[in-house]
Symmetry: C2
Subunit: 477 residues, 2 copies
């Protein structure tokens, strides 16, 4: 007896004698037909059992969610809907699943209910499809960078550096919370803490990645990052995975090329490797959108949206040009934007980004050369003295999906900026060292992985594209 | 002018006109020969400049660590030690590196000094070799699992569950440390904390991975995990990366097969993909060991040690057999073990594990069926009632490199164990659900990634195989 997976059997070209398979019952109908799934694919294999020769007490245990082992022969299917099926000669129920108690019944559950049962929601078609795509997308990320001569850099998660300022941080400590040690002046004595100093969870691995890029040339991170912001939205997680490539000698143009090439590669990869799961999610999304007013429905089906990104050149537009376009746009004139665009310097909101992508250019857009004062301290100052070499990649339906920049490589300019912002130079001594010793032009960007999974799967809430989401007031499991 | 990397040029078969390359100066001798490196390989390319036509002020800036751009022609080398070299027609110093200040001079630095300069140590041959191998090894991990039908599962980093008990945990919080909110009874009011409950950094993603294995079939984690233990040793980090596969329907034998196959794959992969870096590190290790007494030197060179693991069948031995062997061993009888083995039930130390691998069996060893009371609560109890289906994979020079088990799939047995240990069932409601609904035999293991990188690179201190190590009293950068 050889063991097979559902995926293997569905691809089998011949009749197979003496097969064995283990999985979970999705449905059981007419006391004869078991739809069996083992997670290897979204598709089930039909197992046909002989009602008469199967004991009553076994039949009773064949319910949704039960783990079973089946032996038999793989044959061409007599029925519709599948090419092959298993004629079962032996069935063993490994683990029952009491239908009175099992939460995941073959019916529609609310997303909120499934979030409360995040340990079981992976047993639904939707979540298994999403998480398989998440896995394939992860692999595509690694494959892309490794194929292109990058090295994977593991950025530290616990950090003693708080200069990055990308957001609120979580504190990490082993101090007694109720009676923390105090200094003579009555402050918390962090010398007594595990690391001998105040530490937090990282908000970005970029600064550390720069140290590696300036020696290995091309590196990327792919790891968890954290924001302690009280944002209860469908776009924010307190814990999420981020991808941050960083490349020595790349200027902003090369950085744009990299971002476009990278995105197109990973989306092409899943179109090729996740056909069944994407097909399922595309249908799901169409169903979901039927209940929406026509104006809120997507113009494109899921896979067409991926192809839209793959097939179009990303339109590269300066921030200044974009402001002109937005200022003169219909929705701005008709006061349809929630945040009207009146002048240069405004921070763009998702509604503006989506207008540029979906209405004006009808292609993904890369905006660049943003006002210095709305961007981070490490971005390279342009000669105009007021813009920096920042870039944001904008997507349909989402807005910003990537933020990046050419980094300020000039020691004096960087020092001035740090001083202006009141950051202590000592905090960044090692970052400044990169500009002291063998400095060079370099660039990179950050991509919030879950945003990309959302885009690739069409899931509307970011909590549904990560196995166990962490959000304000919620860290179950 | 086309841009090349050092790796590309060293592999070029022909003379190349009009090439351009950017990198950092490793050494500059006789005012003529620059050894240039860009991180793409451990090897440098020799750039020959025309002393007479190069301005004095440029020559002065060509010092170790300086970033330069070079244009010229790739030709066959006239000198020894390299096949090709660049005849430089133009050189630009992009970023100087003051030799009076630059810490990374072409000489031997102490490892401690390099740790204090972890942002620059990657510019040394040793660290660039180690970190390139780390990257390739990471990719091999992903490739192995994806090729074998696994899905990559991102385990949560912040966890509200503290039942795993694998070690001391770091607390994660946004509460005001000096004046935390208190409940009426004077305890910390965690309802006011970000997640509305007490949360910590994960020590293992296994329990969560089990929830996914029981739906997707085969999953693996590869992410950071944490231990807040005050262990200042060359084998412990407070933050390290762990790999944890988990497979539905696998029993312990299949789990052993998986661990052996997996290890052999990733080590074979780096032997094939990291030839130059391994060769360098092998020489380095030989040099390092020259200063040691003969008895402490490794019997095998670095790559031979990798081949030793690849070429030998892992010997599978029960704990009970191992205790007999150890009890009757020479070092035990001669009282050479620091922890003498007197009776069944003893927890094995590194010295015992190494004896079994290096002296007795002369092959990697998998020990299995350990006493229940020295292993974790979730391991499957054997019919003898006193041992569990645990396994440890033991390596030469290291001892335990993998720990795993078949998991207890029987609800009642697991509940009893939890009760015995005084764990609140409510804490593990979701874990118990897996045994209530469609339970099945399943198994998995954990591999501390840095231990494997240590083995693969021959580095004696674990702090030197992760970019920015976190250890007691140290979280710099």
């Amino acid at each position: 007896m050889q063991n097979y997976s559902v995926a293997e059997l569905l691809e089998a070209k011949n009749i197979l004698q003496e097969i064995q398979i283990k999985g979970w019952v999705k449905t059981f109908r007419s006391n004869r037909f078991i739809a069996l799934n083992d997670g290897s694919t979204i598709k089930n294999i039909q197992c046909v059992i002989d009602f008469d020769s199967t004991p009553e007490e076994v039949l009773k245990l064949i319910t949704t969610g039960a783990a079973i082992e089946v032996k038999g022969v793989l044959v061409e299917s007599q029925g519709k809907g599948q090419n092959v099926e298993i004629q079962v000669s032996e069935i063993v129920v490994l683990g029952a699943s009491n239908p009175e108690e099992y939460p995941i019944q073959p019916k529609k559950h609310s997303m909120e209910f499934l979030r409360e049962n995040a340990h079981l929601r992976i047993r639904t078609n939707t979540f298994s499809a999403v998480m398989r795509i998440r896995s394939v997308l992860s692999f595509a990320v690694h494959q892309y960078f490794i194929n292109n001569g990058f090295y994977y850099f593991h950025a530290p998660i616990i950090t003693g550096s708080d200069a990055e300022g990308a957001g609120e941080m979580f504190s990490v400590s082993t101090l007694n919370k109720k009676n923390p040690p105090l200094t003579e002046s009555g402050e918390i004595d962090f010398k007594e803490d595990f690391f001998g100093k105040e530490t937090n969870l990282t908000v970005s691995g970029q600064l550390e990645a720069e140290t590696y890029a300036m020696a290995l040339g091309k590196v990327y991170t792919f790891g968890p990052t954290f924001r302690a912001e009280n944002s209860n939205t469908s776009r924010h997680l307190a814990e999420f995975w981020m991808i941050e490539p960083e490349v020595a000698f790349n200027d902003l143009d090369a950085n744009m090329d990299l971002s476009e090439d990278f995105i197109k590669y990973i989306l092409t990869y899943i179109l090729e490797h996740c056909k069944d799961d994407l097909e399922f999610l595309e249908k799901r999304l169409l169903d979901e959108e039927k209940s929406k007013p026509a104006a809120e429905r997507s113009e494109l089906a899921l896979r067409d949206k991926l192809k839209f990104v793959i097939d179009n050149n990303f339109k590269r537009v300066s921030y200044t040009e974009a402001i002109e376009i937005l200022k003169n746009s219909k929705p701005n004139k008709k006061k349809k934007f929630k945040f009207p665009i009146n002048e240069w310097g405004a921070d763009l909101q998702s509604e503006h980004e989506r207008y540029l992508v979906e209405k004006h250019f009808k292609s993904p857009v890369i905006l660049f050369d943003y006002p210095a004062n709305i961007k981070a301290f490490y971005m390279r100052l342009n000669d105009d003295g007021k813009t920096v070499r920042a870039m944001d990649v904008l997507f349909p339906g989402i807005g910003e999906i990537i933020g990046g920049s050419q980094r300020e490589e000039r020691l004096e300019v960087l020092k001035e900026k740090i001083q202006e912002l009141g950051i202590d130079e000592k905090e960044l001594w090692w970052y400044l060292d990169l500009r002291k010793f063998g400095t060079a032009v370099h660039s990179g960007f950050g991509l919030g992985f879950e945003r990309m999974v959302q885009f690739a799967t069409g899931m509307s809430n970011i909590r549904d594209v990560i196995p166990f989401p962490r959000t304000p007031q919620s860290a179950e499991f």
